[in-house]
Point group: C2
Chain length 309, copies 2
DNA sequence: CGTGGTCATATGTCTTGGACAATATAAGGA
DNA sequence: TCCTTATATTGTCCAAGACATATGACCACG
C-alpha cells in the first residue's frame, strides 16, 4: 500500500494512487482501470511495483469528465478531447444568465464569500416573506440558479457546499420553530438509496409542517425495506419520497411502484422532485407532485377524504 | 449492473450484492473477497451469473466484525466465531447494556417512536444544560450509545435515521441562534470524500461558535483540492476535519498529511473524531484533537499565539 | 408528428488468483 | 522498561474476461 504521503514526499511532483483518485473524483477503481484499457485515458505512470500513479492534470481532466457525464455526455465521445476543450464545453453549455434581480443580492454575497452577510440576507428574506413564500420562491429560485451554475462550472464546489449548509441551517431552524400540532396526516419523508439531495426534502418538510401536518423525517437514502418497517412503527398515513434530477425518471418511478406494492393500501405514496417533473403517469395508487401547489392540494384532499375518522 | 434495489425487490427475501455490503458495512469489495478466499467467511450464495448474494445474517455478522476490529481485535482471530459469540463479546466489552440514566428517558422515547415527545425532550435538555454541556455530554453520549446499538443491531435503521435528523435540527437551530462572530479564528469545517457523518461536524461547529470562533462550514465530503481553494477565498486561519470511525485511521492520517502539504504554513490543520481517537501521532504541522477539551484548548492556544497581530 | 418497440452498442461492475506493501505481534537485546 | 529486528497477518492492487444494464438509433404504427 503506497500512501499518498509517500509518493508526494519522495518526488516533489504530486502523484495520486488509485484509491486517492477514486476518493477525489468519485470514479470507482474499476472504472478507472477499464477506461485505461478501453480508451487509453487516463494512462498513469507506474511505481516500482506497477501500481498506478496519477498526475494532477489527469485528476483535473477526470473531474471535468465526471461533470460532463453527469450532465449527459457519453464517456466514449469526450474522453479523448483535451482538457481545454472539455473546459470550454462546460462554460459553453449554459449561456451566462444573470440571476433574477430579487435573488441577485443574495447570490452576490455568496460569490463574494461574505459568510455573515449571506447568512443574514437569508434570514431577512425568511422574516420578510414568511416560511411558505421563502421556501417556494426564494429557496426554489436559488436552488435552480445554483444548480445550473454548478453544472456550468461557474460556481466553486466549496461555494455550493456552503450554500447547502446555510440553507439547511435556515430550514431546520424554521422547522423546529413550528408548533408541533397534528391536525393533518402523519407523513414519512425520505429518499431512496442513491438519492443524496437533502434540500428538497427539507423544503417539503418545512411546507408540510407549516400546513399543520406531522412529519417523520428520515433524511436521505433509506432502503426500501426500512421504509416499509418504519410505516407501522410510526403509524404513518403517507409516505413521501423526493427524487432530484441526479436520478433517472425510470428509476424513480420503479422505486415508487415497488414501495406501493410493499405498503398497505391505506397508506398513500407520494413522489416529487426534479426527476419526476416531466413524468406523465405513475403506477396506480402513486401520487405525483410536480409543484408545491400540488403538495398543498394533496394535503387538503387527504384531509377531506379522511374527515370522518 | 444489479442495483441493490432490484435484489431487494425482486425476491422478498433480502439479498445484498457486494456493492451494497460495501456501502452498509464499510468493508471494501476487495476485503470481502479476500476474507472469503482466506477464512471461508462470508460465503454468500451466487446468482445465475456467479455474482455474490449476501444474506441478512451475513450482513449482521459483518457489522459485528467491523465493530470488534475497530476496537482492536484481529480479523483472523474472530471471523469464524458465531454471531452470538461476537454479540456477546461486544456486550461484554460495554458493561452497561442499558444507557446511562440521564440518557435513558430520551432513548426510550426514540425507541417508542414518539416523535413529538422525543423532540421536546431534546429541546428541554438543551435549555437546561446550555449548548456546551448539551453537545459534549448529552449528544456525545447519545451518539455513542446509538452508534453501538446500531452496530450491534439493537436499533432499527429508521430509528437511527430519525435520530440523526432530529439532532441535526437541534444543533443547526442552536448554531443559527448564536450571535455573530467574536474574536476567534476563522475555522473551515468539513470532512473528506467518503466521510458522510454530519453530526460530529455540527457538534464541533456548535462548540466553536459558542466559543466565539467564526465557522465556515462546508458540510461533508469536500474534495481536498476544493478545500485548498476555499482557504484563500474565505481567508481561513484553521482547517478542521472530522473523521468518524467509518474511515480507517490510516486513511484519515493520510488525508490530513496531504492537506498539510497543500496549504500554506500559516494555516493550521486540525483533525478529530472517532477514527483518530487512538492515533499516536500525525504528520508534522497537523494537530490531533481527541476530545472537545482538546478543541477548546487548541482554540485558546491559537488566540494566545496570534494575539499580537 | 409523436409514441412505442426492437436491436446494437456503450459502459460500469463483477469475476478469479496472484502478488506485495503496510501493519501488528513476537522475540531478542540494551 | 524501552528500542530494534524478525515474522505473521491483513488489506489493496493488478490483469483480462464476462455480462447486465443503460443509451441511442432505427423503424413501424397510430
Amino acid at each position: 500500500m503506497t500512501t499518498i504521503l509517500d509518493s508526494e514526499i519522495d518526488s516533489q511532483a504530486a502523484f495520486y494512487n488509485i484509491a486517492a483518485v477514486e476518493r477525489d473524483t468519485g470514479l470507482s477503481k474499476d472504472t478507472l482501470r477499464v477506461w485505461e484499457r478501453r480508451y487509453g485515458f487516463p494512462k498513469p505512470q507506474r511505481d516500482q511495483h506497477d501500481e498506478r500513479l496519477y498526475s494532477l492534470p489527469d485528476l483535473e481532466k477526470l473531474r471535468l469528465l465526471r461533470l460532463l457525464i453527469d450532465y449527459g455526455h457519453r464517456p466514449g465521445k469526450i474522453i479523448n478531447r483535451s482538457t481545454a476543450e472539455l473546459s470550454q464545453m462546460i462554460s459553453a453549455r449554459t449561456p451566462e444568465k444573470s440571476p433574477p434581480p430579487e435573488l441577485a443580492a443574495i447570490i452576490d454575497l455568496l460569490l463574494q464569500h461574505d459568510v455573515e452577510r449571506f447568512r443574514n440576507a437569508l434570514l431577512q428574506a425568511l422574516m420578510k416573506q414568511g416560511l411558505l413564500r421563502f421556501v417556494t420562491e426564494t429557496v426554489a429560485g436559488l436552488n435552480h440558479w445554483i444548480g445550473e451554475a454548478w453544472l456550468a462550472g461557474r460556481i466553486a464546489v466549496f461555494d455550493e457546499h456552503l450554500y447547502s449548509e446555510h440553507i439547511q441551517n435556515i430550514l431546520r431552524n424554521a422547522i423546529i420553530a413550528q408548533p408541533g400540532r397534528g391536525s393533518g396526516p402523519r407523513v414519512l419523508l425520505t429518499s431512496l438509496p442513491g438519492e443524496k439531495h437533502r434540500i428538497g426534502l427539507l423544503m417539503v418538510e418545512a411546507v408540510l409542517t407549516a400546513e399543520g401536518a406531522a412529519c417523520v423525517a428520515l433524511g436521505t437514502e433509506t432502503p426500501i425495506i426500512d421504509i416499509k418497517n418504519a410505516v407501522p412503527a410510526y403509524r404513518v398515513d403517507v409516505v413521501a419520497l423526493s427524487f432530484s434530477s441526479a436520478i433517472t425518471q425510470t428509476a424513480a418511478l420503479a422505486g415508487l411502484a415497488e414501495l406501493r406494492t410493499l405498503l398497505p393500501a391505506a397508506v398513500e405514496v407520494w413522489g416529487g422532485g426534479g426527476a419526476l417533473a416531466r413524468a406523465r403517469k405513475a403506477a396506480p395508487g402513486v401520487l405525483l407532485l410536480r409543484s408545491f401547489d400540488d403538495l398543498r392540494y394533496a394535503l387538503e384532499r387527504w384531509r377531506v377524504e379522511n374527515a370522518q375518522r
